[in-house]
Symmetry: C2
Subunit: 426 residues, 2 copies
């Protein structure tokens, strides 16, 4: 079965807009066991649209077209569909009345340009759009079943999930919807993951996929056979062990929040090179006030002393980027805030500020608890300022995960070098 997708619009074609609708529907269909054979991006002029509708009508079984259903003169999809099929546009009284009611609700009357959205190719079927004013529509033309959809992402997604995919399932041989298992990893590259998991001889029903969400990589296992999925999951778990952060959707911050709330622990941070990034990531999850007290973004040396009691002589002796300073920052954050854990990061994110001894990418981390303080000095090679900060964020959060789960805090993180580490028991 050939399913094709057409993105329309000069703004998409000229790269002014990144085509997230195409990526979204491709992934959504893939996870529903349907795959596109081809995707197109075309300009929103009448000739281009008529060409592509005619071409795909002869080749595909299903064609989904996105965009060009709005009220402006650039919105030509309905007209192009009618011209391609050689039928007139006629006013859909149903959609016209629907629009009149919709506008009346917000005390507006229907303008001529908005009425345009109710003119559809003769003989087509309406695809309802409960969240917008653009009317979706569908028809058979030559070999293909066509679905016209609006460009607004929320309207598009609603129409695809609620109406178009169910309609395809009904019209064509149904497929079993596979189950998708997501496993989030950190500390291993996509290529290393590919190599290690390829050697596992996973059950043949499994489709193995990866999604890089820097600096993490998500392993995706897709199968219609539940037993195979369980077996694959066990094999992947055994192979990757502590490199796995967590399973399922949601962020690492959300995962950590659940564990922190479950255990009733509290946290305060002291951030230098990450500069609020860790706090911001944790606070992005609603309910984070249940365990996160504060973060001390101590960017200047003076603020390290003022806010988290770092001894000025420690900075003079070891430098601001050192295990000693990070340890004092973490302890200061924990003690001052009166919480269970303090986590601190101090590093050289670059591009300036590096030295031979401590090049750009050198980052000191510490985690203080009531029983011990762990600190480490790592070197994150070959990354931009934002890259170093992004990796440092995940290393800091992974230290908390390891502390909470009772794992060794001296984790190996792929290409990241551990220059030094220390555990001080209290």
């Amino acid at each position: 079965m050939r399913i094709e997708f057409i993105s329309t619009g000069d703004e998409v074609l000229s790269g002014q807009i990144v085509d997230t609708n195409a990526a979204w529907i491709s992934q959504y269909f893939f996870h529903q066991g349907r795959e596109f054979t081809r995707r197109y991006t075309v300009a929103d002029d009448l000739e281009s649209l008529i060409d592509i509708i005619t071409e795909t009508s002869l080749r595909a079984d299903v064609v989904i077209i996105n965009g060009g259903l709005g009220p402006t003169s650039d919105d030509l999809s309905a007209e192009a569909a009618a011209k391609a099929m050689g039928v007139p546009l006629i006013l859909s009284q149903v959609w016209h009345d629907h629009l009149v009611v919709k506008y009346a609700k917000s005390n507006r009357t229907l303008s001529v340009s908005n009425e345009k959205q109710a003119w559809l190719p003769k003989g087509c079927e309406i695809v309802d759009n409960p969240v917008g004013t653009a009317c979706g529509f569908s028809f058979q033309f030559n070999r293909a079943r066509f679905y016209f959809t609006p460009g607004v992402p929320s309207e598009f997604k609603h129409m695809v999930t609620e109406q178009i995919l169910p309609d395809i399932q009904q019209r064509f041989t149904p497929v079993t919807i596979p189950t998708l298992l997501k496993i989030k990893t950190f500390g291993i590259s996509e290529s290393a993951l590919t190599e290690r998991l390829a050697a596992l001889s996973l059950p043949s029903s499994i489709t193995l996929g990866f999604r890089v969400d820097f600096p993490t990589v998500e392993v995706k296992l897709l199968s219609t056979v539940e037993a195979d999925l369980s077996r694959a999951r066990a094999l992947v778990n055994a192979e990757l062990g502590e490199l796995i952060l967590y399973e399922g959707d949601g962020s690492f911050a959300a995962y950590l929040q659940n564990v922190m709330l479950e255990k009733g622990h509290t946290l305060s941070l002291a951030e230098s090179c990450t500069g609020g990034l860790i706090a911001s990531e944790l606070i992005a999850v609603a309910g984070s006030s249940g365990y996160l007290d504060s973060s001390h973004v101590t960017y200047s040396n003076e603020s390290k002393s003022r806010l988290v009691n770092v001894d000025k002589t420690t900075i003079t002796q070891h430098g601001a980027v050192s295990m000693e300073v990070a340890a004092e920052m973490a302890e200061g954050a924990m003690l001052n805030a009166g919480v269970d854990f303090g986590i601190a990061v101090s590093g050289i994110a670059g591009p300036g500020g590096g030295s031979e001894d401590k090049p750009v990418g050198t980052v000191a981390f510490a985690l203080a608890s009531k029983t011990h303080t762990y600190s480490q000095l790592l070197f994150i090679p070959r990354r931009s300022r934002q890259g170093i900060r992004g990796v440092a964020l995940y290393i800091a959060l992974d230290m908390l995960r390891r502390e909470l789960l009772g794992l060794d805090l001296s984790a190996e993180f792929g290409s990241i070098e551990r220059r030094d580490y220390r555990i001080v028991d209290k």
Copy 2:
């Protein structure tokens, strides 16, 4: 002239990878005065590739194909090109020798799978790839000039900018490269911008574009006529006034950093609902330590008192989300850090925590300086937790801009309601 682009690969087609190469080259070509007529995304099986190469060879003048030049068995672009043209693959001694030298430099020998990258369709010309091992190549087939490019974004971009575009300029009628002017706005929606700028009667050589980078919108003016561009810039400036944050590339944080360093001012922050987001955005720019001392991420009420001296009775009387608390936070941050400005944000980002009096989206802001403290209570409607935090970030930074430029701090921000504001002179 018809220029078409083909993205290859199952991972792109199934939405596992967002096709940033396609968006990048489309935008790059657009800014160079060339536009694509159509883009395709196809699977990396031999038949699909041969089909699309043949189809486009009959229709287009230039076809750029991306991906499938790697060493693995999925990489079929060269084979498909040869099959489509009916020529054999032959070993390029030049590229083979190049690979041998490249591998020798890192003490590796060329494997059979890597040697595959030197087998190219007979009669093609090499397109050099100084940053990778995949060999680009080019040939004429039917109507079209074909360029085959690697999927790795850095290699792809290098090849397009250094070789392919110059080659196209040479082979086809050259176009004048237009000048692009970017104007970043905040506080006005894309649709409102479109309406207001459409009414300006800009010179006809101007192409007007918009790029939403939430919560800002960039206005893009593109023209080959410098005088028209100046005139358009003046018209847009007169129309939008204070809604314009700055011009050119770079972030708002980088713009503010320049002004702060120029004026020799220093800053400390106190963040509650933004939770480190403002600090993180500022610290993303290298050199931010020149003016940013610290941020106090005071998520708990207790930390507001401990870190930035908020009076506990102020919180009891007015609530943590109030102009009074924000003003004390900003003053505490400024005084404790011993800097020129303190900026504070305290709000209800949701989804929980709202009340009838202070619904989700209510955010208090304050800016303290040595001469005055300005505070305001705003309501940011209809946004997710992340949306509210993102808008709050820009409002806070815009307050700093307005303070630095001597503008009125009570700005209007489109749909955002000002519930209250206060200026206290010292």
